[in-house]
């Protein structure tokens, strides 16, 4: 009778609850253990996971679309994230043993925009070496060190961009000036722009834009006179503080600030706010990556005609920003992932054209995109170098420079302070 009484019912109720909890736990465990294997187990196409920065969507969308339509047995699924979040997410996935099949690693050792540098990932065994075939190895000599670790190539070069100034041709015409050919002309342009109610640049003095400023100026004043500077720094033969070129880079930034080249409020302005100043026609140029040219046109059909120029200096070089792709060593679908990166290497123009970037072939032939044609001669002469930071010891060096350079705007840091912080970050 007791089993049918109040206590018996309660005992059965608790048993049911316990079984329910165990089932729920079991389901959770099954879910955790039985994740998607990438679609390789059935008759459908193998699915490859690829996470890229939001800023390169313009380029990857057509690549993925054309690849998927020409490879019915493989399907690349791309997820776009803001650059800072991308590094965080992919790092976490790698630690969890769930790395994307295709890794958007920054060529070199300096971290790049996402903080995922190819050297660190390759040395940790997270990247699969590419085969010794022309599609993987055939890149200009200056670029090879950025994708090669211990003699093996770990990244395919997807495209190249540069860092300099996008000049608004209508604005230049309005104030009666041309793209500056010397540093003095650039400083004069700042004054002329102000006389016409504009600013030379609305670029930010915050960290993200400081990076572009530094890479543009370093190509002229550091890597132009001494292309081997990074190796010397790594060997301890030079420091930032002891290098006249680096001192000149920071002094030029200070000179631009003192000459009121920047629109007021640069130290607190974001990149979006800078873009707003450009769209409102309040500037003559913007210190930016060359990829901004097509990005602006994608955002605004009425964007004014623009041309791309570098920091003007007779010894200057074109700073090269690299976009690369690698294959995860832990991928279950390495063969298919390798097929995709091979496709990217063999169809670089599909990514480069919509991005406003260029291919290694264009660089070597001196036939850059139309808005960069002023640099064709330099390119044909081989006057190009990897952008500052690409081959540095770690990402903290570039971050230290980017943060400290804001201090040149606010008065919190001197040229010496910036250079000292960069040396400390390198040696840490």
């Amino acid at each position: 009778m007791a089993r049918n009484g109040r206590f018996g019912r309660r005992r059965r109720t608790w048993r049911k609850a316990a079984v329910g909890a165990l089932c729920a736990g079991g389901l959770l465990a099954a879910g955790a253990c039985g994740g998607d294997d990438g679609g390789g187990g059935g008759d459908g196409p193998v699915t490859l996971r690829f996470i890229a920065g939001q800023s390169v969507k313009l380029g990857w969308d057509p690549v993925v679309e054309t690849f998927n339509s020409s490879h019915t047995d493989i399907k690349v699924e791309v997820q776009y994230l803001e650059s800072a979040r991308l590094g965080q997410l992919v790092s976490t996935q790698i630690q969890a043993g769930n790395a994307p099949d295709i890794v958007y690693a920054n060529p070199g050792s300096g971290g790049g925009a996402t903080g995922l540098d190819l050297y660190k990932l390759a040395k940790a065994g997270q990247l699969e070496p590419l085969p010794d075939e022309p599609w993987a190895t055939d890149v200009p000599d200056v670029i090879k060190p950025a994708v090669t670790v211990d003699g093996k190539v770990y990244g395919v070069l997807a495209s190249i961009s540069s860092y300099g100034v996008l000049y608004d041709l209508d604005a230049l015409k309005e104030i009666g000036k041309d793209v500056p050919r010397s540093w003095d002309e650039l400083i004069e342009l700042c004054a002329a722009a102000r006389e016409h109610g504009r600013w030379f640049t609305g670029s930010s003095g915050m960290a993200a834009d400081n990076r572009v400023t530094l890479q543009s100026l370093a190509a002229a004043f550091v890597y132009g006179p001494d292309p081997d500077w990074d190796r010397k720094r790594a060997a301890g033969e030079v420091t930032f503080a002891s290098s006249p070129g680096w001192r000149q880079v920071m002094q030029r930034v200070k000179q631009m600030i003192d000459a009121k080249c920047y629109a007021p409020g640069a130290a607190g302005r974001t990149r979006d706010e800078s873009l707003k100043l450009v769209e409102e026609g309040k500037t003559v140029g913007s210190v930016t990556t060359s990829a901004a040219y097509e990005y602006r046109r994608a955002q605004n059909d009425d964007a004014p005609p623009e041309v791309f120029g570098l920091a003007p200096d007779p010894k200057g070089t074109i700073p090269l920003g690299l976009t690369g792709l690698s294959v995860s060593s832990t991928s279950d679908h390495k063969e298919q992932a390798m097929e995709f990166v091979k496709y990217v290497a063999e169809h670089r123009e599909v990514f480069s054209e919509p991005m406003g970037n260029f291919t290694p072939e264009q660089l070597e032939q001196g036939s850059l995109p139309e808005f960069m044609s002023g640099l064709d001669e330099m390119a044909a002469e081989g006057r190009y170098t990897l952008a500052a930071g690409t081959m540095w010891a770690n990402s903290a060096v570039l971050r230290a420079a980017m943060e400290q350079m804001t201090g040149l705007h606010t008065g919190q840091a001197s040229v010496n302070d910036v250079l000292k912080a960069m040396d400390e970050a390198w040696d840490s």
């Binding site: 316990a18 003095g205 607190g268 919190q412």
Partner: protein, 287 residues
Amino acid sequence: MKLPPYWLAVPGIAFLVAQHFVAPLYGAWYAFTDWSGLGPATYIGLDNFREIFSSEVQRTALWNTLLLAGCFVVLVNVGGIALALALNRTLKSRNYLRVVFFAPVVVSSLAVGYLWRYIFTQDGALNQILGAVGLESLATTWLGDPRWALWTVLVVMVWQFVGEAMIIYLAALQGIGDELEEAALMDGAPAWRIVTSITLPLLAPAITIVSTLSIIRGLRVFDQVIALTGGGPVHATETLSTQVYKQTFVDGRFGYGAAIALIMTLLIATLAIVNAVFFRRREARAG
């Protein structure tokens, strides 16, 4: 009444221990390593902590964190009590105003931060208003000026969370009987005396709760800083949380970042406990 068997609680207790103690303790171990986020971690003793305490950036971050948390606790309490007293029963529109003041609490801190960016930026609403009323000389680069940047973060924090304190104080005020205040009024006590001698002592438990919550929230401030200043200019608004993020996820120094996080955890635990004990004693004395 027969209680359910104890073993039924085992999964829950195991989950609680795993979630609240094992994972953080395991994470704390990384504070004593040089882990880069990839590959094995090597034990390096107290090296990370030595580097933290010798780093000017980390000292700045610690000072900013304490300053923000301290000011936040005071302003949120004062603002919350003031709003609660004002909206307790006198105004006809009090229900609408309560909603208005509480609304920011439910919005994401990151979204609030980005919203205020547009107010504080060079061409933003604040400088435009100053210009419109003839005070353009006061207009400045609020987020890019090291003298002001930290205070802009504080303003946004207080703006967002003062409504939460107000709701807690309002709930506490509802529990205070009218007869005490009426008796004091009949005895001729002025309003300020009623507040300081009757209302505030009776609000002591609520003050403990609000202070503890706000000290924890102030010490782990992150979203507002990232959205408004990113820790700049030149670390002027850097906090321990932003340093944990930058060192860990930007520079890939997971061991070093874990060491900062461990210090932050201990700091929050210590100050929250000290704060709670202090206010509990005051409550006991008031009671």
